[in-house]
Symmetry: C2
Subunit: 323 residues, 2 copies
């Protein structure tokens, strides 16, 4: 067994974002921005919802995955890509690999939902199952890489991925003028880091907030402590937000995020219902966390123009969290 | 009691549509067009979903209602508007009246869902309840008009309403080039009539289809018979499509619609699930009828570019039809 190939660890720059945007444009949607007078009334602010749930493969992660896949040399591409993920990154990496016509392997616990496995396979990727433990995942993943020589694309701690996610904020500031703030949910910090990268370079006057479940508030505690703190197996309905920050995302979050606001599980579900009902979009619990944070902290956003990133729409339609 | 004021009965023209578009532009969204490679694969065609579920008040009927409300003279406006509707038209008329700051009364059976009554009131309109019978509705409605002098805005058999709905197809042909066909669900025929009006004048090469539940196939049978046939209390999950054609909508449908395709209840629910899952939008069962018709009749649309009108998004999120 060999160690998985690691991406270079220096943080991406604005030039990387601009190059990423050109590279991935044929493979992603410029997603629409939706508004609701009713929600604005409830929030006491003007909210502009950037709908990455309407992105290819149903999540913003199609941006970063596409940038990673289409950055590979021909020789690298021939060996394919691999990752471990039971969430949107696995699906989106499979999507991007399928667009380039190269192999993709996703290591996933055998206990992961069947729908997630089907989604990876639906775009042509291969699922390799491991036991639901870090030890098993790392061992199985190392085997996959040793066998295939595939390029490892980490879900967020990868400069190619962060540069790809950063294209979302670039679209948003072209679509909506005069934003005062942008808020996104934070798990590993890929979207928030990309937002920091773009806004700090192109629109440094826009404040950046992150939002997180109280029950998985590792990023909030990290920002207060000034160092990365990881949660031990957090439990939250916002299942996309359980993973910890890593060095590259900490680099951006620690420098550019004004505050990380936390919300309760009930607040997440209520905000999710409000968005489904008023914006008429299907989105994940994780994507409701920023609106929940705005509604809980009206003094922070009163009268302002706020971009709100709706990160993904891959949700089990047979089990609504309010039912 | 006096007879309700009737709108002039001559069919609207392209000039009416252009005037309507200027008039309502500040009050409506230019709704986005979404696509799905997966759904295209299933259909064997390129489908462009025009998302009127993302329209103000959650339905295309905000267009026609806004055009009617903002066409009124000051004297008429001062007396307000009235309609009978337990569906989107009542909500949308209340929305439009609220934008102009004039009274709106909606007569609705006392058995109508609480959510529909709340929606009318949420935009500032007044709900007057009647018994769930045509006799009671007509009597109560006549009383309302006698008391208030309000202008009657019919849900579809009104030239101002049809001209408003026609602005949707005008947006669509500006957003998507080279369409071969457009398909919309048909109930009373307001959206289909507006589509006929716009396309026959501006893009006569685009074929127009309507789609209807088998269990409420009055428009299909009307087109075959060459005269309006009304169903007697049809039962379908697509509850927006139960009403019959009237003279103004029959004028357009009989002249310009290529065919009216019918689908089963199970096909409607399956198409609805497919749209929720793949397009990540919340929409009504009625809005799924066109996709169901395309999937049932692949030979009609094979390889073509087809505009599909998603008419509305006001659905009870606690009761999915597939649960």
């Amino acid at each position: 067994m060999t160690t998985p190939t690691l991406a270079p660890a220096s943080p991406p720059t604005l030039d990387d974002v601009l190059a990423a945007h050109e590279r991935i444009r044929p493979h992603i949607h410029e997603t629409p921005v939706l508004t609701s007078r009713f929600i604005d009334g409830a929030a006491g602010a003007s909210l502009f919802f950037k709908c990455e749930n309407l992105q290819k493969a149903g999540a913003f992660k199609a941006r970063g995955a596409s940038n990673a896949v289409f950055s590979l040399t021909e020789a690298q591409a021939a060996r394919g890509v691999a990752t471990h993920s039971s969430g949107n990154h696995g699906t989106c990496l499979s999507y991007a690999a399928g667009r380039r016509g190269i192999p993709c392997t996703v290591v996933m616990p055998r206990t992961a939902p069947q729908a997630k496995k089907d989604a990876v396979r639906g775009y042509g990727g291969r699922v390799v199952e491991c036991e639901p433990s870090t030890t098993s995942r790392e061992a199985v993943f190392a085997e996959v890489v040793a066998e295939t020589g595939a390029e490892f694309v980490h879900p967020y701690n990868d400069p190619r991925v962060i540069a790809g996610q950063a294209t979302c904020a670039r679209e948003l500031i072209a679509q909506v003028e005069g934003l005062d703030a942008v808020i996104a949910p934070i798990g590993g910090g890929g979207m928030v880091s990309g937002t920091c990268l773009t806004l700090s370079a192109l629109a440094p006057g826009i404040r950046i907030y992150a939002a997180e479940p109280e029950q998985a508030d590792d990023a909030h505690r990290s920002l207060k402590a000034g160092r990365i703190i990881a949660d031990d197996a957090p439990v939250t309905v916002a299942d996309g937000l359980k993973v910890p920050l890593k060095d590259l995302t900490w680099h951006f979050v620690s420098r550019h995020v004004t505050d990380i606001l936390t919300v309760s599980e009930a607040e997440i579900v209520a905000a999710m219902q409000l968005i489904w009902k008023r914006l008429k979009i299907v989105m994940e619990p994780s994507s409701a966390v920023p609106l929940a944070a705005i509604l809980r902290n009206p003094h922070v956003f009163a009268g302002q123009r706020v971009g709100v990133i709706i990160t993904g729409g891959n949700v089990d339609l047979d089990k609504m969290p309010w039912q």
